[in-house]
């Protein structure tokens, strides 16, 4: 069918996945406080045969994600009349939606035993994940800064709550507060950036902003400040250095599955919106923001990888690793061409899956709680639990970008995008920091395989429940598939960015 946004009803069709997801979140929320899930019964799993620790709510949420995926697939058959509506129905959005939905599904799968063991309110937990996901989908769909802002807030507020969700854990509460305060702060930047951009261009529609900026109809001073503030707002959300300070503490303190979700999906959503705003809206002033982005990418890659070298807590190490990956993705934003945009999507997909996988194993090792997170706790783990050990090794190699894994193909894709804009110095920084990253990823591998566990039976308690296993097998399969046969997804990503602007290639060889 064809969508014409001059008819308001057509927004309903364009937003069908988001609408279904929000409604489903409400259903889960209500189901969580009724019937066998009524609050009084949840904390007691001692010998209660009807207690399932929220597993049924988990499966219910998962069904919702699958349903939304169907609607997302249906949107491929829909065409929009022109490209200035508030909502985009294009490949870029739909590809990003796959990433968010995949991340949500994996998060739900790895949460089952965590929710049960930590005695969390399952209904609220899963509903918040679904709501956060819907916020992300709004961000990817938005062709208007206001919609991006709404999406950002829906996502962020849900994630603030998730971060502090484990009320019995002081670290969780601290992380929640920290994230909320800094997040609110960055939102201020973002909102003011929108206001100034509106003042400069007379519109909040990204396509119209793009036209105004390219046509020289924007007032320079306001626009510069507006772009800078938006850049800072996004840099906070993707946790680029030097706006990353909140990340390690929040990732370390948040409940394990939430950390996995944040480090993959929240980052992906911020990046997708970042890409659209800067590629479509601000391509006319590429020269102005290009050097800033260049340095942001370079500093993020270097600093994050260096700090990660000395981390002894695995969760914290993965937090710095996620900042480092943000640095790699910023290279794509700096390159700002079609290949880079496709590379960004491909990399986000791979990164989401491999990061989720790594966190799934970390959750197993830590007994679905917040203990046993030091790297020493991994000594001898590989030989005690060969399957989980091999899986974690695959995820680590993929995060390190090793051939045979999706991470390698993703990095090649990013490097190709950089090559198309002649960013050779940035490419060299990328590969050199990658060498540094080998150290901390392989350190986990050497503890797992090359050291003996201090005490025998150290890893006997480690278990991977059924749902977690499903997530693990799916992740490994996707990572290896993308590493060996990336061709299909590659062309899919390339086709998905058609229609998005391309500016980097026109400025060959410009250096800051």
């Amino acid at each position: 069918m064809t969508l014409d946004f001059s008819r308001q009803l057509h927004y309903f069709w364009a937003l069908l996945p988001e609408i279904v997801l929000c409604s489903w979140a409400m259903v889960v929320l209500v189901a969580g406080v009724s019937g066998s899930h009524a609050p009084g019964r949840v904390p007691d799993d001692n010998g209660d045969p009807t207690f399932d620790g929220g597993a049924s709510l988990g499966w219910l949420s998962l069904a919702g994600v699958l349903l939304v995926a169907l609607f997302n697939g249906w949107l491929y058959s829909v065409h929009e009349v022109d490209q200035t509506g508030m909502i985009a129905v294009d490949g870029f959005r739909l590809f990003a939606n796959w990433i968010f939905l995949g991340a949500a599904a994996l998060t739900i799968l790895i949460s089952f035993s965590y929710v049960r063991r930590q005695r969390l309110q399952a209904g609220e937990f899963y509903a918040l994940i679904l709501l956060a996901t819907s916020g992300m989908m709004f961000m990817a769909a938005a062709r208007d800064l206001m919609v991006i802002f709404l999406g950002l807030e829906v996502m962020s507020i849900a994630v603030y709550a998730l971060t502090g969700f484990n009320r019995r854990d002081r670290k969780s509460a601290e992380a929640g507060l920290k994230y909320f305060l800094l997040g609110a702060f960055s939102t201020g930047f973002f909102l003011y950036g929108i206001a100034l951009t509106y003042g400069a261009t007379g519109s909040t529609n990204i396509a119209l902003i793009g036209a105004a900026v390219a046509g020289g109809g924007a007032s320079d001073g306001l626009l510069t400040v507006g772009v800078a503030l938006l850049l800072i707002g996004f840099a906070f959300k993707v946790s680029a250095v030097p706006f990353h300070m909140w990340t390690p503490d929040v990732y370390e303190g948040a409940p394990g599955p939430v950390t996995a979700f944040m480090s993959a999906a929240v980052k992906a959503a911020a990046f997708v919106a970042f890409m659209r705003v800067f590629l479509v809206g601000f391509d006319g002033v590429y020269e102005a923001w290009y050097p800033v982005m260049w340095w942001l990418a370079a500093i993020t890659m270097v600093a994050a990888n260096l700090i990660a070298l000395v981390q002894s807590n695995v969760k914290r190490m993965l937090a710095y690793s996620s900042i480092a990956h943000a640095g790699y993705l910023l290279v794509a934003l700096t390159a700002a061409n079609q290949t880079a945009a496709a590379g960004l999507l491909f990399y986000l997909l791979v990164y989401t899956v491999m990061n989720m996988g790594a966190f799934a194993v970390v959750l197993s090792v830590s007994h679905q709680s917040e203990e046993r997170l030091q790297i020493e706790d991994y000594a001898g783990f590989g030989w005690a639990q060969p399957l989980l050990g091999v899986f974690l090794t695959v995820f680590l190699l993929s995060l390190a970008g090793f051939p045979g894994t999706g991470g390698f193909m993703g990095k090649i894709f990013l490097l190709q995008g950089a090559a198309d804009s002649q960013l050779w110095a940035l490419s060299i920084i990328l590969v050199l920091t990658t060498v540094a990253s080998y150290w901390y990823y392989l350190r986990v591998a050497w503890f797992m395989w090359m050291k003996d566990a201090g005490t025998p039976g150290h890893h006997d308690q480690v278990e991977a429940p059924f749902a977690l296993r499903v997530a693990l097998f799916a992740s490994v399969a996707i990572i290896l598939y993308l590493g060996v046969f990336p061709s299909g997804v590659l062309s899919f990503a390339q086709a998905s960015v058609a229609g998005l602007g391309s500016v980097g290639g026109s400025l060959l060889g410009v250096g800051p």
Binding site: W383, L397, F402, P403, G404, F408, I412, L415, Q416, A419, D420, W424, S427, I428, V431, L432, T434, V435, Y438, W439, L442, W446, W449, M450, K451, P486, S487, L490, S491, Q494
Partner: protein
């Protein structure tokens, strides 16, 4: 033989089989019992070797271009194909790999006592990776295999190695990864140039050879590629990872590392560095730097080797010296030099592989590698001693052994262009005798004054099976190298033609050959 092979379409599937059969074998080993794993691994890899022998007949010695080629699209969007082929250079490297792997596996039966399944699986994975490196004709595919060999070796050293195994493993990994990732940027730069020049994305080596590059570009790319390969070789002063890796690695790890993994570096020189960047490769300064590094490596590591108390470390340092001869021969840029380099690669693979195996056998008997702990072994283990002496002599390049042929040719080639450097390098042969022979004397001929040494038993049947083919090859190549040389020559000639035609271009454009800033030189034309 040729008819039989062609009747079963041998040339079409053999290269695929040599990559994928070891991976299949890996699955079988993991599936087998812990006790049976080593037998499965040995017989499987021995079968792969027998299969690979057919290449000797299927290979057309008269041709210098890629043979047994097969190409399948892998990632068409980026112009990456799964393209395999062998020529007179890679043929011997492939055969060396398939020969050394089963012998190294057989040599680890006594040494590897824990986690055997995982170990043998990794050995087979390593074989697949190394064969892939030698037969890939797509630069991207080559890179994938080149990196892929790191992982099994990392785990082999790190899990089954000695005291400082983790340090050695991570050092090995980071050194080589550092070099190869810079090469990756170089490869992508080439790809980008190819896309602009040819209009289609492609990573095929044959296409990349057509890309015009300026002198400066060639120089930078040369540096990136040379760094990656030099770490692997290893060329002085990038060699410091090697002694650590060798000393800590288990015997089979050392054998494969010395015999085939180091060759990936010099192979890269021949396959990529010279043909892709001929202008940079024959620039007088570049040649001088590379040859000087090679000579310094030969002399320096010979001296260092002479004072090592640890026999294994001694042999590790000799590897650096021998690989120095290969680099010396290659940058002579003459037929003799290149052929000599290739023969040293083969000979070093055989003799150093055998030395590490023999040291492993001594270690299994005495649980020490200190030279001073031995003495008079010759009287109690005559066969072991004989084998060791033949291997040591082949290693130091005694006439009549494989080592002599290679080093002689390499030096001869170097003499034709750089007599002084070749002269200095030739003293390295003398130093080789200076470090190797005293070691042999101390271990095998001094007084038999320790009770532990009296109880050393001679070679077992299994050990004889390991050593016999290697010893036979050392002497066979020493007396009759012609079959090797005649198969190499056409391929070597192709490389040299390419280098020389680039120099013709240089003269036409009147490039001042003593400066590096050779901007905008159409360095490489269509010189097929």
């Amino acid at each position: 033989m040729t008819e039989i092979l062609s009747s079963i379409g041998y040339a079409e599937w053999i290269l695929h089989a040599l990559i994928w059969l070891p991976i299949l074998g890996m699955g079988l080993v993991l599936w087998a019992d812990e006790e049976r794993a080593k037998h499965v691994a040995f017989w499987w890899s021995a079968g792969v070797f027998v299969l690979s022998l057919g290449m000797w007949w299927a290979f057309d010695p008269g041709s210098g271009v890629m043979q047994m080629e097969s190409v399948a699209p892998w990632i068409p969007g980026w112009g990456i194909s799964y393209a395999l082929g062998v020529d007179g250079i890679s043929l011997f490297m492939v055969l060396l790999t398939t020969l050394i792997t089963p012998l190294a596996i057989l040599g680890s039966f006594e040494y590897i006592r824990k986690r055997e399944r995982a170990f043998y699986a990794l050995m087979l994975l390593l074989e697949a990776g190394v064969v892939g490196v030698f037969v890939a004709t797509d630069v991207f595919l080559f890179y994938v295999f080149f990196e892929l060999t790191l992982v099994p070796m990392y785990f082999i050293v790190g899990i089954w190695g000695g005291e400082r195994r983790i340090y050695a493993a991570i050092k090995f990994f980071l050194y080589t990864a550092f070099g190869s990732l810079l090469m990756l940027v170089g490869i992508l730069f080439l790809f980008f140039k190819a896309k602009t020049a040819l209009g289609v994305p492609t990573f095929a080596l044959a296409d990349l050879l057509q890309v015009p590059l300026t002198g400066t570009e060639q120089l930078w790319l040369f540096a990136a590629f040379a760094l990656a390969f030099s770490v692997k070789i290893p060329l002085f002063p990038l060699h410091t990872w090697l002694p650590d890796a060798h000393v800590e690695a288990p015997t089979p790890g050392s054998v494969v590392l010395a015999a085939v993994l180091l060759k990936m570096g010099t192979y890269g020189f021949l396959r990529f560095l010279l043909p892709l960047f001929p202008v940079a490769a024959q620039h007088p300064t570049v040649v001088l730097v590379m040859m000087t590094l090679a000579v310094v490596g030969i002399i320096f590591t010979a001296w260092v080797a002479a004072v090592q108390p640890d026999a294994k470390k001694l042999v590790a340092y000799t590897s650096v010296a021998h690989m120095g001869f290969v680099v010396l021969g290659i940058f002579a840029l003459t037929v003799n030099g290149l052929q000599g380099g290739l023969v040293v690669m083969i000979s070093h693979g055989i003799s150093t592989g055998a030395l590490f195996l023999l040291l492993g056998m001594l270690y299994e008997r005495r649980h020490t590698r200190k030279i001073e702990d031995f003495g008079g072994i010759g009287r109690v283990a005559p066969l072991l001693t004989t084998a060791f002496i033949i291997t040591a002599l082949a290693s130091i390049g005694l006439p009549g052994t494989s080592g002599f042929v290679g080093e002689f040719l390499a030096l001869l080639g170097a003499f034709e262009t750089h007599p002084v450097l070749a002269g200095i390098a030739a003293t390295g042969v003398i130093f080789a005798a200076y470090y190797m022979l005293p070691m042999v004397q101390k271990v095998f001929f001094n007084k038999l004054d320790r009770a532990e040494n009296i109880e050393v038993h001679d070679l077992t049947r299994r050990e004889l099976v390991i050593l016999t083919p290697l010893l036979a090859l050392m002497i066979l190549i020493g007396w009759h190298p012609t079959p090797l040389l005649e198969r190499m020559e056409p391929s070597v000639q192709v490389i040299l033609d390419r280098v020389e035609s680039a120099s013709a271009d240089l003269e036409i454009s009147a490039l001042p050959t003593d400066t590096i800033q050779a901007e905008a030189v159409p360095a490489v034309g269509g010189d097929e």
